[in-house]
Structure formats: C-alpha cells, structure tokens
Amino acid sequence: MSDTPPHRAPRWAIWLPLVLFLGFFALVMIGLYRPADRNVASALVGKEMPRFDLPPALPGRPGLDSKVLANGKPHLVNVFASWCVPCRVEAPQLGELAKAGVPIEGISVRDTTENLQGFLEENGDPFQRIGADDDGKVQLALGSSGVPETYVVDGKGKIVYQHIGEIRPEHLGLLLGKLQEAQQ
C-alpha cells in the first residue's frame, strides 16, 4: 500500500446534494402557495382573430364569418356546446349582455343540430350568428382549450380579452369594461 493520503470526497460534492435540496424546497414552497391555475390560456390575446368561415349551426340562421368581427363594433365570441353544463349556468348572463346591446356571436363545438336547438330553447338564444365547428378546428385555431370560453374582440378584429369558464354575474362588470376598452 502506498503512502499517499487517503482519498476524501471533494468538499463541494459533499455539500452539493444539500444545496440542491434547498433549491427544491424553495421551488415547491413557491409552488404550493401560488394559486393553482389549471387553465390553458390562448396565446392569441392581443393578436388578430384568425380567419375562418363557419357554416350555419341552425337552418335559417347565418353561420359565422370572421370578417364580421372586424366591422367596427366590438363583439363577444362565445365558444360553447349543448353538452356543456357551465354553458347553461352562464346563459342568463349572456342574455343580459345581449339585452345591453352587445353583439354576441356563437361558435358551437362538436355539436349536433337537434341538441343545439334543444339547448337554445331551454336556455335562451343571445346569439346573432352561430357557426358550427363540428371538427373543432376553429376552436383550436383560436387557442381555446375548452368550453365555455368568451372572447372580447375589438372593432378591428383584434382579441382583447379571453374569459375562460362560465360568465358569472360578478364577471359582467369586467366584461363590459373590456368591451368599453375595445371601443377605443
């Protein structure tokens, strides 16, 4: 056996795991106390509405062409479906917004004519136009990840705000405010 001093693990290697653990601890402390946000928001907020032209969802009602969203007036675009439960919850609020003169366009996702008709009969029909997005492609083009979602679009076709989830009474003020902003 030689006389060289016995090998010792380097200092930095010994303390490295503890340092890594402290980093982990800090990270998860922050993570635990941040409010959990499970929604996937659209990355198109602040950008222009994508071009689309959806066929009519109901016979006798016009479909939805995105050109109409750039006609100078701010619009609400509501992505919904008859099989969606929170969409029923927000129906009264949409009705109120429609009464207040806000043009609301509907995109019905992965739906059928009869179910849609039944839904509108039960919950009211605040929509000016309803486009049928059976393939779900326009939903994807908008960056929408579920229903219901409501987009505030300004007169030039730019998406100003995305509201994820149903519109509850307390959100009405917020939406009207965004619509006001969009007017400028």
């Binding site: 090998h7 996937v40 099989w83 992965r110 059928t112 779900g136 994807l140 579920g146 229903v147």
Partner: protein
C-alpha cells in the same frame, strides 16, 4: 370531496366543463373530425403524423399526448395534424402553429427558448459534474496503478 382524478386518459367525457355530478345531460360525443380515428393512407405520412402526435399534449387531459387520449378535443387535434400532414405541411410547422396558439404547454418536445434553456443546460451541467467527479477520483491514481 376527496376522489382520485377521474380524467385518466381522457376516458369518458374528461373535459373541464363537464361536471360529473349531472350525468343526465347530453354527453360530449367523440370527435367527428374526419381523421380523429382514422389513419392516413400513406404509411410514411402516417408515421410522420404519429411521431408528431406523440409529442403534442392533450389540452384537457391530466398529462397525455394526443396520440394516447380518448378526449374528444384530442380527436380534433389528431385530425388537424393528419389533415395537414396529408396536405404536405412540415410537422414542425404544425407544431409551431399550435404553439403560437397555446404556448409551449402544448408541445412535449421542449423548444429551446428563453424559458426552457435550463432543460438543456442541466444535462450539460451534469456531464460536467460527472467529469469532474471522475477525474478527481482517478487522477493521482494512475501513478498508483503503475
């Protein structure tokens, strides 16, 4: 109420909006998009599409690629991918289109951006540490070995 996450694999209507408390309402149907459950005829294109689908994340599931999910929105995304690949579009262009709309979240293949550079730096860093540890362990030994 404590319950296990029931949205495994998007089985059943696993979408954010469908409250499982009221099953009496119309269920979301499977996606009727043409290529949600149908493969492309050209096998080379189908392989390209499959590789892309395996690296795109289902937007409503708890952590699945669209290739592995029963959720209807995943079906719509699959159809989108297949139709575009059939039309000759490059898979990375389709990925970029989706990232433009959903952010980096939608892609399982991390893009090298200002936010994700640590993911690539860490393996390099680990190699460096590995090298330092091994070098330190063994230099000074080669004389011993003689």
């Amino acid at each position: 109420m404590k319950r296990l996450m029931l949205s495994l694999a998007g089985l059943g209507p696993a979408i954010a909006c469908l409250a499982l408390m009221a099953p009496a309402i119309a269920q979301e149907e499977q996606s009727t998009a043409p290529y949600a459950y149908r493969q492309l005829d050209d096998p080379a294109k189908e392989t390209k599409a499959q590789d892309l689908m395996e690296s795109l994340r289902c937007l409503q599931c708890q952590g699945q690629s669209i290739a592995d999910s029963d959720a209807p929105i995943a079906g719509s995304m699959r159809s989108l991918v297949r139709e575009r690949i059939a039309a000759g579009e490059d898979p990375e262009a389709i990925r970029a289109w989706l990232i433009e709309r959903y952010g980096d979240y939608v892609s399982y293949a991390p893009q090298l951006t200002g936010l994700t550079w640590p993911l690539f730096a860490v393996p390099a860093f680990l190699m460096l540490i590995a090298f330092l540890l091994l070098r330190r362990r063994f230099t000074g030994k080669t004389e011993d070995a003689k």
